[in-house]
């Protein structure tokens, strides 16, 4: 790509500060799942709730100048298992957040939760402290699969969790499901989807199980279904979801009208986010300097707790080059079925779209991309071969 050589002639005064989201990472789990490669650690002793919340607040104080005056449009508490934290602890955190940040009244505030009985008891308190969306890690309704995946809940709890969420006042929630599970056939996958649809959630995330390095599954790989089977599963499940009124709007995300995940959409539309917590990543636009930078924290919880609030808690930092901006914009936006508008590209990267004429043309001629006057979006083939589509922009 010849981007770097043309930087000098690019008019870069159009880079605007985009919407801002807040991510908070909770790095502990009761047990580590064999497929998981997130920054999560098995909880061996008591949960250091107060210390960790304290560390998060120290980090926020340190980073506040980076986002001064910008309202927060969504908050996502992910992990790990954030629902290991008591409502009291989270309430304390929220008090501190509200004291320092403008959180818009319309903000989507999501908590990732396990469907275990213990967590379900807390749903009401979570709702009361201002959390307005749950993302429940069901993964499957098949008891054998749940065991294989190392989940600690059973299928009864999974079904019950949805009812509890509703009773607690959550009208907005997501169910996480996985497919392409060891030994799974299209019927089994469809049974999971049908069960999920019966529970009528506003949002379903349907992820294909992939074996990631440094996980238990990578050490002892399970027998995954063949490509053909996975393909059949996808076709069957997507049809079913479509018929039930869920729109497939991102590679793995399905939503009822108006129920798309605002927080994830912000990532996918290349918005800004501040990430707090062990190993959390931030992406922030400095409109005044006309630049975008990323930074990420030390990963280990203990180290993070010790260092939070100091410069040493930042493990790395990177200012994006123009070519980084283009690629990362595409990596995110082309996950969306609707892609992006030329205006959004220019606002978020500060670059004119004409710069990409050759690449867009190539992507189009390979049948991977549609380029309309007001919308650029991946074709069905482009969605299936997103990695190939993206390499055009590397």
């Amino acid at each position: 790509m010849t981007l770097m050589t043309t930087t000098a002639t690019i008019n870069t005064t159009t880079l605007l500060a985009p919407p801002l989201a807040l991510y908070v990472h909770f790095p502990w789990c009761a047990r580590k799942c064999p497929y998981c490669d997130f920054n999560s650690h098995e909880l061996k002793n008591t949960l250091p709730e107060r210390d960790y919340i304290g560390a998060l607040v120290r980090e926020l104080d340190q980073h506040l100048p980076l986002i001064w005056g910008r309202p927060i449009r969504s908050i996502f508490m992910g992990g790990g298992t954030p629902s290991l934290f008591s409502a009291a602890a989270l309430d304390q955190l929220f008090g501190q957040l509200r004291a320092r940040l403008t959180i818009l009244p319309s903000a989507e505030i999501t908590l990732e939760a396990n469907p275990g009985t213990f967590e379900q008891q807390r749903f009401g308190e979570y709702r009361a402290l201002g959390i307005n969306r749950l993302s429940i890690g069901i993964q499957s309704f098949d008891p054998a699969q749940l065991q294989q995946l190392g989940r600690i809940h059973d299928h009864h709890q999974a079904i019950h969790a949805v009812a509890t969420a509703r009773q607690a006042g959550f009208d907005n929630f997501n169910l996480d499901l996985m497919y392409g599970l060891p030994g799974q056939d299209p019927n089994a996958a469809l049974a999971d989807i049908t069960q999920a649809i019966d529970l009528d959630p506003p949002h379903i995330s349907h992820y294909q199980l992939s074996i990631e390095p440094n996980t238990a599954f990578a050490h002892r790989p399970p027998r995954l279904p063949a490509d053909v089977t996975v393909s059949e599963i996808e076709t069957a499940c997507r049809t079913q979801l479509q018929q039930a009124g869920y729109t497939h709007y991102e590679i793995s995300a399905f939503a009822r009208p108006g129920r798309q995940c605002a927080h994830n959409l912000n990532y996918w539309q290349f918005g800004d986010y501040l990430g707090l917590g062990a190993g959390a990543h931030s992406k922030l636009t400095q409109a005044a300097q006309q630049q975008i930078s990323r930074q990420w924290n030390v990963k280990h919880p203990r180290e993070y707790q010790q260092l939070a609030g100091t410069a040493q808690a930042t493990a790395g930092q990177q200012t994006l080059s123009w070519s980084d901006c283009v690629l990362e914009f595409m990596m995110n936006n082309l996950r969306l079925h609707d892609g992006f508008s030329p205006t959004l590209f220019t606002e978020r990267t500060g670059l004119p779209l004409q710069l990409l004429q050759a690449q867009l043309q190539q992507a189009q001629s390979r049948g991977l991309l549609c380029v309309d006057a007001d919308r650029i979006y991946p074709t069905a083939r482009g969605r299936n071969f997103l990695n190939d589509l993206l390499t055009i922009f590397t």
Binding site: Y23, S231, L327
Partner: protein, 602 residues
Amino acid sequence: MSDLSHIRNFSIIAHIDHGKSTLADRFIQLCGGLSAREMSEQVLDSMDLEKERGITIKAQSVSLNYQAKDGRHYLLNMIDTPGHVDFAYEVSRSLAACEGALLVVDASQGVEAQSVANCYTALEQGLEVVPVLNKIDLPQAEPARVIHEIEEIIGIAAQDAISVSAKTGQGVDQLLEILVKRIPAPSGEINTSLQALIIDSWFDNYLGVVSLVRVVNGELKARQKITVMSIGRHYVVDKVGIFTPKKKATESLKAGEVGYVIAGIKEIDGAPVGDTITTTDRPADKSLPGFKSIKPQVFAGLFPIDSEQYEALRDALAKLRLNDAALFYEPETSQALGFGFRCGFLGMLHMEIIQERLEREYNLNLISTAPTVVFELVTSKGETIQIDNPAKMPDPGFYTEIREPVIIAHILVPHDYVGNIISLCMEKRGVQKKLQYLGSQVSISYELPLNEVVMDFYDRLKSVSRGYASLDYEFARFQASDLVKLDILINGDKVDALSCIIHRSVSQTRGRELVEKMKELIPQQMFEVAIQAAIGAKVISRTNVKALRKNVTAKCYGGDITRKRKLLDKQKEGKRRMKQVGKVEIPQDAFLAVLNVGKDPK
């Protein structure tokens, strides 16, 4: 005639690993050419590649001052020679500058085919050959047996062969004494017109062309105006000197001496190897005999992976060709691989070395096609044409006969492996010419199609004899044979770079193996890839690589995009190493698959 009785010009003939470089180092040390600190292991092998592989590729020379026991000072010019079959031509060049040669034989391993061939070259050129048994300090040394082998196989008297250990230094001083006694001094006239033979030339980025010369008559001095006779170009000498082995400038090089000359020659073809240098104001009436020209035997296409490196590749080939007359190249265009060069080599090692030098010394990224030999076609009009590229082979209707080059291979091998060698040669369509038991070794001669030899013969020979067999070969003749062109089609497109010419009897098997191998090597793509092997219009084997159903990451970790980027970069890097044929991406290894099929399963 001038008195040149204090000069000795000699080479060392030895098989790889028989200790030539160690012995040379020992000579340098004894004659004080380098201080102990400067003695890095094996100073003569100056190319990195030579040090790594432990072989000598290019001629090198070292001038040494030796004070003999009788008190006389001698100037010893040692000219190094390569020891591999591919470089027989270089050997004859080095030997042309010498009056004698030391034949160094490992006292435990005995005579090897390569030394035999080089020794014959020396004898043909009228050199005095002095046999030396090396590694005499090893417990398994068998001097008596090896002396017998030298006499039996090479046919020179070896009863008085000198036993040495280059490693410990044992016997090396006696060897120097014998050397000055037995090897004759050069003859030549200093006070006459200059005649200097260019033994080797190489290109130095700062100095231009540097030539290694043997002055036969006259005197070569700095600031002299010289003429390179065959091309008639004139230059002014900047510097002359000798290698001690450090480059050391001298006043002049006189008749009988060997050294370097630098004359500000900037053009790559300014000092061809084998040419004669004379002075411009008092030219010699005729040039020296020079060297017989040599024909490359093995051809392959070399293509830059990045098409922008095409000019750089042309430039690098020109520089290598300067001191490697056997390297041939001409532009070639392949539908699959783009613009590159069809290159001719002496053999497989030569090809490997050239490719490695291009990649290492010139930082080029290359892709090579499978090597092939030159075939002769008799056209229906009765003309004979040569084909060095299977892609250029005409349709069968166009010719009445195909001929392939046949070599005569001389193999020396211990008794135990004779059976293996014979079955290997038969598998390769060989015809036995001779089988003779000599001491502990057997000398076997076979006529073999060169085409079979370039594939994998040498590797197989080594593996069936546990490394003990040695090989030398020479071209015999072109011979009519039932050959066919095997094409590989990918999604219906003929991939020119994958075509090969093979014997009909193996075409079915080879086609099937090749198609299977390609299936292994070509990664799944966004569409199904059909692979076919065909002879003419007839498909003899087919298979396909199933289409990839998707290539997308299920979860993009909201915050952490760095891991996903690494994955994409990896994928991109992988693609960069592929060549696009039509819509299909083919990895580089696939173009050498022709070479790797039919090998012993590992």
